[in-house]
């Protein structure tokens, strides 16, 4: 008999449901020639062959960052999560309001990226593309470019609570990486280190949760640690954190 995946999907349509509820779906395990079936495929199988469920995707190949959700309790991209036969749970990414089922509104994290302002700040306009040290480019900047804005890191960061003011004081790991990109590159002339500090650099205690879920394999903790050290050297470390309203 064919092997089965039992997908426990957290469903919630705020326009019709009083509260979120779990629904079980049985999906046949169909592996591809590499022996892989992904979580996105499981969701497709439910959505096309059984009934409509809310989930978001675009690229189906680990690029666009739209399919982020909690799979078996872990923040991940559905299209880049290989499944095994058996039981699995699918829940929306925590800390964001649910739009429908597995789709959340991630705008409060996206706003932090906007505030980070990755547009290059230079006194002179860019005339030519300047040289950049290859190792810096390939091992750091290229990975920062690749951030999917998937917001997985926001969903796990213990310093950002569901409710609470840290969303105001702390830009969060993703936006700090956007600032870091400009701090580390050699073209930007703004004081990006100070910006990182004002964005809550020292609120991070380097717990490492964000690193574990980042699909772009950005060395978030190392980069934050380096910026914290540089800021301390420059005397930019705040003497404490205050709760402002």
């Amino acid at each position: 008999m064919a092997e089965i995946i039992t997908a426990k999907v957290l469903r919630y349509d705020p326009s019709t449901d009083d509260a979120p509820w779990f629904q079980d779906f049985q999906v046949e395990w169909v592996e591809d020639p590499s022996g892989i079936m992904t979580a996105l495929q499981v969701l497709h199988a439910i959505n096309y062959d059984q009934e409509q469920i809310g989930y978001d995707y675009c690229c189906r190949s680990g690029l666009c960052g739209r399919c982020s959700m909690l799979i078996d309790g872990k923040a991940a991209l559905a299209c880049w999560t290989p499944m095994t036969p058996g039981d699995h749970t699918f829940e929306p990414l925590p800390k964001f309001p649910v739009v429908k089922d597995l789709i959340v509104d991630r705008s409060r994290a996206y706003e932090r990226f906007i505030e980070a302002n990755t547009s290059i700040q230079t006194v002179n306009p860019i005339v030519n593309l300047p040289d950049i040290d290859y190792n810096l480019y390939w091992n750091t900047l290229e990975r920062l470019n690749m951030c999917r804005e998937c917001m997985c890191c926001y969903s796990v960061c213990p310093k950002l609570q569901d409710k609470g003011s840290n969303w105001k004081d702390f830009s969060g790991p993703g936006a700090l990486m956007a600032i870091a990109q400009r701090y580390l590159d050699t073209e930007d002339e703004a004081d990006r280190l100070a910006q990182a500090v004002y964005s809550g650099l020292f609120i991070c205690d380097q717990c490492g949760e964000c690193n574990k879920v980042c699909p772009s394999y950005i060395a978030i903790v190392d980069i934050i640690a380096q910026m914290q050290e540089d800021a301390t050297t420059r005397g930019l470390q705040p003497s404490g954190t205050a709760e402002f309203m």
């Binding site: 079936m37 996105l40 409509q52 995707y57 690229c59 680990g62 666009c64 040289d131 480019y137």
Partner: protein, 626 residues
């Protein structure tokens, strides 16, 4: 409408952002109206409608739309951008995590030196008057410098230089442009952004000028009317039409790319040019987590030396008579791929191998280098030395037939921006960015001349919304779920209009479309009546776009009785530069398709010269025996 919902609605339609001019409400408080309300009469519409106004409305937030929005704002216009998907993550641009850029910005001339190359790469097909304006616009718009300006850091080679070396040449390429930074920039510049909002149609005033557009907020199901002096249509391709492979269509485009823009233009009676041209690429077939999305290997066609047949022979070295001294580009490679398939030399799943043995080498384009690493980390999959890739459509080269040098369509005030012909040669970015710049500038200039936007034609709004809501409400007997009908259209399309075509196959596709329209569409229904992110409802609405685009492509494909670009016909396998330097033109007139072939515009480079520089092989080329 009750007080409570009216208040909630006011909140949701509230004024946002610096770019906003007016936001208001219409249509509330009346359920008893005739459907023929006059143009000025908002109460004709029995649905809650939020009204938003700006100088320029941009529909679509990909590379083309973001560039148009940035240009229009730079010229002082207030701008609204509407996108069907998640802002910065939608359509083809939303997938494109690391474009190759193409530019002529380092070139000495103003762009006029670029046009010969552009015509050559596109098998002689460009409308030369427009192509010149495009090349000049890109030269001025500086895509590479702007890409770095807004956020991306383009690839630097092991000797620390950018790939292009900023070299003076008609065309240059760099690697690693991330459209998400353009999207961020548009938001930062203060455009009023409405994402997850599906534009249903463009509105015209009594004089036939553009008046705005009407859409549905997919998060609430509520209607929005966007009133603007000018509109830029930048809604991407219709590549989502292509078949179904068990995971997704045979395309690398996004699920938003259902050709709504093309459908709107066609329904408004505009003639379309070269709709048969749908370039394909070859993309990794397995593991399924990266199939057809180019998460990893792929783009093989642009690096043709890597493309091998089932016997692991380079397909390019199998040509008996290489087009020596001539440009040898993507279009020729697409034809060679088709030839290889027709010869029975394709791999098990109908494609090719890519030699990936030295992918990680620092001399390779960044695109390929972390494929193996990513596949291992994300999926535990060890990439083999030879990776199987299969053809799938990646863009749409068709465009409005008549298109001014300011990117305006025949509808006054309606501008159009898309990669168009650029995709033919793998220079989609050049096309999308350049037309976006032209359209943004044209739309802002024209808006500046107009004292006010046209009044909202409420009767049109009413009709359009009535159609959309009735799709949600329909309860036909023996109903077929919309998502299933949608997939049947995709399958019908791919069977006759995929990369290998002939008259019989195209007609079979048309016959199946007829059947779907007469039998399935009347039974199409949406099981859930929720208005909130109801994907079945969206698919029901989009089905019309798929069918219209499929028919347009079929008409164009039928009349191009030769092989050219990505259009390969087994019944007309030759590429004929003597008789076929022609564009196809298809148009829906009084509900009937009219199609014809028209001589190219060769006002700058003559047909005779073109015929000598375009590689003249179709899928009839002789290849060396194995």
């Amino acid at each position: 409408m009750s007080e409570v919902s009216r208040r909630d609605f006011l909140k949701s339609a509230g004024l946002v952002g610096v770019g906003a001019a007016v936001a208001g409400l219409a249509g509330c408080g009346s359920n008893t109206t005739s459907s023929n309300g006059s143009s000025e009469d908002a109460s004709a519409v029995p649905y809650p409608v939020g009204v938003h106004e700006a100088d320029v409305l941009v529909i679509g937030g990909g590379i083309a739309g973001c560039t148009a929005a940035r240009r229009a704002m730079a010229k002082g216009a207030s701008v609204i951008v509407v996108d069907k998907g998640l802002w910065g993550h939608s359509g083809t641009s939303g997938i494109n995590w690391g474009h190759d850029t193409e530019t002529n910005e380092w070139s000495d001339d103003d762009g006029s030196g670029t046009i010969a190359f552009w015509c050559m790469c596109h098998d002689g097909m460009p409308d030369q008057t427009f192509a010149l304006a495009l090349c000049q616009a890109v030269h001025k718009a500086r895509p590479d410098a702007t890409t770095e300006q807004v956020g991306s850091i383009l690839e630097r080679t092991p000797d620390n230089h950018p790939a292009s070396l900023n070299a003076v040449a008609p065309f240059n390429g760099d690697h690693g442009c991330f459209p998400r930074y353009f999207a961020q920039s548009v938001k930062r510049l203060g455009a009023e952004i409405h994402d997850r909002t599906n534009i249903l149609d463009v509105l015209l005033d009594e004089g036939g000028n553009v008046a705005g557009a009407v859409g549905l907020n997919l998060k609430t199901g509520e209607a929005s009317v966007f009133r603007a002096k000018t509109v830029v249509m930048a809604m991407g391709s219709f590549a989502w039409i292509s078949g179904w492979n068990g995971m997704s269509p045979y395309t690398i485009a996004g699920p938003e790319n259902t050709g709504d823009g093309h459908r709107i233009l066609i329904q408004k009676g505009l003639a379309m040019r070269d709709m048969e041209q749908e370039p394909f690429d070859n993309v990794q077939w397995t593991p399924i987590g990266i199939r057809q999305g180019m998460g990893s290997t792929g783009g093989a066609i642009t690096n043709h030396t890597l493309l091998l047949n089932k016997n692991k022979e380079r397909i390019t070295t199998r040509i008996d008579t290489p087009p020596e001294g001539r440009y040898y580009g993507n279009a020729e490679l697409m034809r060679l791929c088709v030839k290889t398939i027709l010869d029975g030399d394709a791999t098990e799943n109908g494609g090719f191998y890519v030699d990936a043995r030295n992918f990680a080498d620092p001399t390779n384009n960044r695109y390929y280098r972390r494929c193996g690493e990513n596949q291992m980390r994300a999926l535990g999959y060890e990439m083999p030395d030879y990776v199987e890739v299969v053809p799938e459509q990646w863009e749409t080269a068709g465009r409005p037939f008549n298109y001014s040098t300011t990117a305006e369509t025949e509808i006054p005030g309606l501008f159009y921006a898309a990669s168009g012909q650029g995709s033919w040669f793998g220079m989609a970015f050049f096309g999308a960015y350049g037309t976006g710049f032209m359209a943004g500038e044209g739309a802002a200039d024209k808006a500046a001349e107009l004292s006010a936007a046209s009044a909202i034609p409420w009767d049109q709004v009413n009709g359009i919304l009535g159609d959309a809501y009735s799709l949600l409400d329909a309860e036909p007997e023996n109903g077929i779920r919309s998502t299933i009908v949608f997939r049947k259209i995709q399958e019908a399309y791919w069977s006759g209009l995929g990369p290998i075509r002939n008259e019989e196959g195209i007609n079979a596709t048309l016959a199946e479309l007829d059947r779907i329209e007469s039998e399935d569409i009347p039974k199409m229904f949406v099981p859930s009546k929720s208005k909130q992110m109801n994907s079945d409802w969206l698919r029901a609405i989009e089905a019309k776009s798929l069918i219209t685009c499929a028919r347009g492509v079929a008409q164009a494909a039928l009349i191009r009785k030769e092989t050219r670009g990505a259009h390969c016909r087994t019944d007309y396998p030759a590429l004929d530069n003597v008789n076929w330097l022609k564009n196809t033109k298809v148009q829906l007139v009084d509900n009937a398709w009219v199609s014809e072939v028209v001589d190219i515009d060769d006002s700058i480079i003559s047909k005779e010269i073109l015929a000598t520089i375009i590689p003249d092989f179709g899928i009839d080329i002789t290849v060396k025996p194995n």
